[in-house]
């Protein structure tokens, strides 16, 4: 009895703490209905997308490094994409994003990793603040080798061999113990605080959480598949299964898409989040249920990543 009471007391403390609203976070209408517990917990809370100020004349004004056109990153392009990759479900319906200088293309980030002096395509990330990139946990931390400190570079809006927003490096790599200690695929998300504020010019994605089923909600994945030589590609599908910690969808992806925002587009003025609103972090190819998947943005995850801004 005392144990149950203690649990309740503790849950109460956690709930109170997590219910506090981080700065800049917009509440859905149901969250403002004081005393309506059910509405509060099935409500929707988030932060809207910001479309940025556009390509600057000088990226160094934001602390980014200029990158000359033609800068070589190891990768390749397949003419058709039809190379039998499992996470392309059915026909390859990806569409190239070109140019990449408008939102959200500029806020979609190519992540490279340099090992033994060779820089290679690695993952995708998405701006979630002036200096914050979110991505998959396995893009910043590996259970065998640890943090990828000093190995990662971030190129917002990279387009083949042109880099309109330059590049930045990470001041801090971030994840959570569900991934770094437990290695749980359900908690495979992370991020990087950059040494630049390029998000002010690229803009950033919004995000929201809800405990309601998201089945049928449209999902767009825009990022850097490893078979397309640093080009940005996109595909839209819908949520096929909603787990409490994971979303499943049939967007066509390839290795390199890890860390992409799984987002939906919400009308201006929508409760909680409007514009490009992230629902999950893309992380895995087809699993046992036949769908691609990624960790879902939950209330506690939302509060955690907002705290990284």
């Amino acid at each position: 009895m005392a144990f149950a009471g203690a649990l309740l007391a503790t849950v109460g403390l956690v709930s109170t703490a997590s219910a506090s609203t981080p700065e800049g976070v917009e509440l859905g209408s149901s969250d403002t209905e004081a005393g309506v517990t059910a509405a509060r917990h099935s409500g929707l809370r988030g932060v809207s997308a910001y479309e940025g100020t556009g390509v600057p004349a000088d990226v160094t004004a934001y602390g980014a490094q200029r990158v000359p056109a033609g800068h070589r990153i190891r990768g390749y392009a397949t003419p058709t994409g039809d190379v039998g990759i499992q996470s392309i479900i059915g026909a390859d319906n990806r569409v190239r994003v070109n140019p990449t200088t408008s939102f959200p293309a500029g806020a979609t980030v190519l992540i490279t990793r340099t090992v033994d002096g060779v820089e290679r395509q690695h993952c995708t990330g998405w701006m979630f603040g002036a200096s914050l990139v979110l991505t998959a946990g396995h893009c910043v931390y590996n259970q065998t080798s640890g943090w990828y400190t000093g190995q990662l570079k971030f190129y917002p809006g990279a387009n083949g061999t042109t880099y309109p927003y330059g590049s930045c490096t990470a001041a801090t790599l971030r994840s959570n113990t569900g991934w770094t200690t437990d290695g749980s695929a359900d908690a495979d998300y992370g991020g990087a605080t950059l040494n630049c504020s390029v998000g002010n010019t690229t803009g950033w994605y919004g995000a929201y959480w809800t405990t309601a089923s998201l089945n049928g909600t449209s999902t767009t994945i825009q990022g850097y598949p490893g078979d397309k030589a640093q080009q940005q590609w996109t595909h839209t599908d819908q949520v096929r299964e909603s787990g409490s910690l994971r979303l499943y969808y049939d967007n066509d992806t390839v290795g390199g898409n890890s860390g992409s925002s799984v987002h939906t587009v919400r009308a201006s003025g929508s409760s909680g989040c409007s514009g490009r609103c992230s629902l999950a972090f893309h992380a895995y190819g087809v699993g046992s249920n036949g769908h691609n998947s990624g960790p879902r943005i939950t209330e506690s995850r939302f509060n955690l990543v907002i705290g990284w801004r």
Partner: protein, 121 residues
């Protein structure tokens, strides 16, 4: 009052034991290293020369299938690649441009390093 404090402490400990998702960063204490399986090898062409920049993709053959991280793992200048994965049975394929190699199968054990060379046509 003392009983309430004790109950609260037990509650905190119980929740802590359940895991959870506390923030971590590379500025903090390194988390314990967890054993994974490693699969490494060299991608070569039909003449046996190392192929650089080939995309190496695993597919889980276990039932239920392990989810495979969607990393871009590309072979280096010496054709070498390395994947760290959950232990299990996998089929690996190398692709480059419009070429796809014959899939090759491997069973990878926790803490082990399996050598799996891949060939492109």
């Amino acid at each position: 009052m003392r009983r309430a404090h004790l109950a609260l402490l037990i509650g905190v400990l119980a929740l802590g034991a359940c895991g959870g998702e506390s923030p971590t960063s590379d500025a903090g204490t390194p988390p314990p290293v967890t054993a994974q399986a490693t699969v490494t090898g060299v991608v070569t062409d039909s003449a046996g020369r190392p192929v650089t920049g080939a995309l190496v993709q695993p597919k889980s053959l276990d039932d239920p299938a392990h989810p495979v991280p969607e990393l871009a793992v590309l072979s280096g200048p010496d054709g070498r690649y390395a994947w760290h994965l959950a232990a299990g049975r996998y089929e690996f394929t190398a692709t480059k441009d419009d070429r796809a190699g014959t899939p090759a199968e491997v069973t990878a054990a926790v803490g082990g390093v399996e050598q799996l060379d891949l060939r492109l046509p």
